[in-house]
Amino acid sequence: MIDVQGLQKSYKDFQAVNNSNFHVEEGEIFGFLGPNGAGKSTTINILSTMLQPTSGSVTINGYDVTKHQNRVRESIGIIFQQNTLDEKLTAKENLKLHCKFYGVPRSKRKARINEVLEIVDLTDSINLLVEKFSGGMQRRLEIARGLLHYPKVLFLDEPTVGLDPQTRAHVWEYILKLKENENITMFLTTHYLDEAEISDRIAIMDHGDIIAIDTPRNLKQQLGGDIVEIKTTDNEAAMKEIESDFDVVDLSLQDGFINCKVENSDAFVSSFIKTLQTPLTGLDIRKPTLNDVFLSFTGREIRD
């Protein structure tokens, strides 16, 4: 659905994007992460026809972003980081204008407006001025608006920034609902790494380069595995057992817990529970988080 090849963008004395290549499949949620200034926004701006690339080719829905700008624009919906609703207009007016910008046939407008408002639970607020909306409602309205013209690809640029945790959860709920029901391809950037977990695949960008691209699961596995914390009635005996019977990366005793670092905790735990002779009193599996992944790839936290 999105195909990026050899994409470069340079300004006078600064290379914003460096020979990027990636491919996003139809129906996929593609997470695009990177610290501030990594080249994320530049990439999104190029993909959404707002910026011309210096070199390389980008096609979305089969259309080249430099040659068929309008075809690309029709194929995509964008939820910007910044609020781009007209607050002096009602929800309905905002949506109607969007239909006109995108040439949604007149006869279908009313049904579509009701349909997208239903998805984001704003049907009751249709005639309310947007300035009366709460932050979360405005976000949801923007998502609804982005869907009005049935885009093939939805760009979500920090869709939950500045929202309280509850509203954030809500917004993601709607986004996942969309993926299930509409099979829309989503290109997502976010600062909240726990939110990026919903992606099918994640690309990490730093200093204009894409330095990793894989499923969240694989990325975390690359870190060298999970940590399984075990407590037994006899830790010494249990450790000996584990050492002789299982393939572990690292084994240590800490604060009354046995810390096993294993490549794949699922496989380890299932066989471990069956065979361990010493009675088990406690078990905790800690998977590495995307934050650990991010840290190991970029050497810094996402917020730095």
Binding site: I78, F80, N83, T84, D86, K88, L97, K100, F101, Y102
Partner: protein, 273 residues
């Protein structure tokens, strides 16, 4: 095409919803009408009368009213066009720019939006006519309205180009001071511009407001019934680098001006993204 209408429609909805702005934008023209029309009217009338040497019946308010309406058109057009900057600051411009609406249609829609707002404001000035002792017949009115809309289009395209060049609202006051005010003063809208030094004359000749004002005056004032001296004194005999200016010429000048500026504004929209 639908994109033009949508952008235009948005400006109209917002204009009619914002009563305060509608009323507020009357303050300036009314102030000028009072200062120049009533305040300076007597002095101007006797000045002109002494210049001609006859006591031909001459009403200065009648002379200045088309000028004040043009001024309303100019100021409202330019100010409305500057909403483009606000759209940029508040993000709505991105919603428009990422849509498949062509850049030329964005510029046209914005221009028509501002022009319509200015046109409505200009027409609303007619409410003052009875208080000023001016009357207008239906035929004159029907001639006047399309001309007013065309003038508003020209001024709006100017405002749009300026807005696309400015980066912030900070530049706004500057634009008013260095562009709008001189354009009003050097257009013959408020006082006749006869016997000016050459360089002033040059500016007056290139000032699009000059032709807008002159068109309005020619339609609203019964020019043919004024004596040649009054016409001369009131600056009604415009020349364009030595050539006498006709009303057709003025219409073409304004249309050409509008087309050129829309083109430039479109290029700016294209470059900006």
């Amino acid at each position: 095409m639908e994109g033009i209408i949508a952008i235009w429609q948005r400006d109209m909805i917002k204009f009619f919803r914002d009563r305060a702005r509608m009323i507020g934008s009357f303050s300036m023209p009314i102030l000028f009408l009072v200062v120049f029309g009533v305040g300076m009217g007597g002095a101007m009338e006797s000045l002109v009368a002494s210049g001609i040497g006859t006591d031909e019946d001459f009403n200065y308010v009648e002379f200045i009213f088309p000028g004040i309406v043009s001024m309303t058109l100019l100021m409202t057009s330019v100010f409305s066009s500057l909403s483009v900057i606000q759209d940029r600051d508040f993000g709505y411009m991105r919603e428009i720019l990422v849509s498949p609406v062509s850049r030329v249609n964005i510029a046209l829609g914005k221009m028509l939006g501002s022009a319509s707002v200015a046109f409505v404001q200009g027409v609303m000035m007619f409410v003052l006519m009875p208080f000023l002792g001016i009357s207008i017949d239906l035929v004159t009115l029907l001639q006047l309205l399309p001309v007013m809309f065309m003038i508003a289009c020209a001024f709006s395209s100017l405002g749009l180009l300026v807005a696309s060049l400015l980066n912030s609202m900070q530049g706004f006051q500057l634009v008013v001071n260095i562009l709008v005010m001189p354009m009003i003063f050097l257009s013959g809208a408020l006082f006749p511009l006869s016997n000016m030094p050459g360089w002033v004359d040059f500016i007056v000749t290139l000032n699009p407001v000059t032709y807008g004002v002159d068109l309005m005056k020619n339609i609203m004032i019964d020019v043919d019934n004024l004596s040649a001296t009054v016409q001369e004194e009131m600056g009604l005999n415009l020349t364009f680098f030595g050539q006498p200016v006709t009303m057709t010429g003025e219409v073409f000048f304004l249309l050409g001006f509008t087309a050129l500026l829309i083109l430039l504004a479109t290029l700016m929209f294209r470059r900006k993204n």
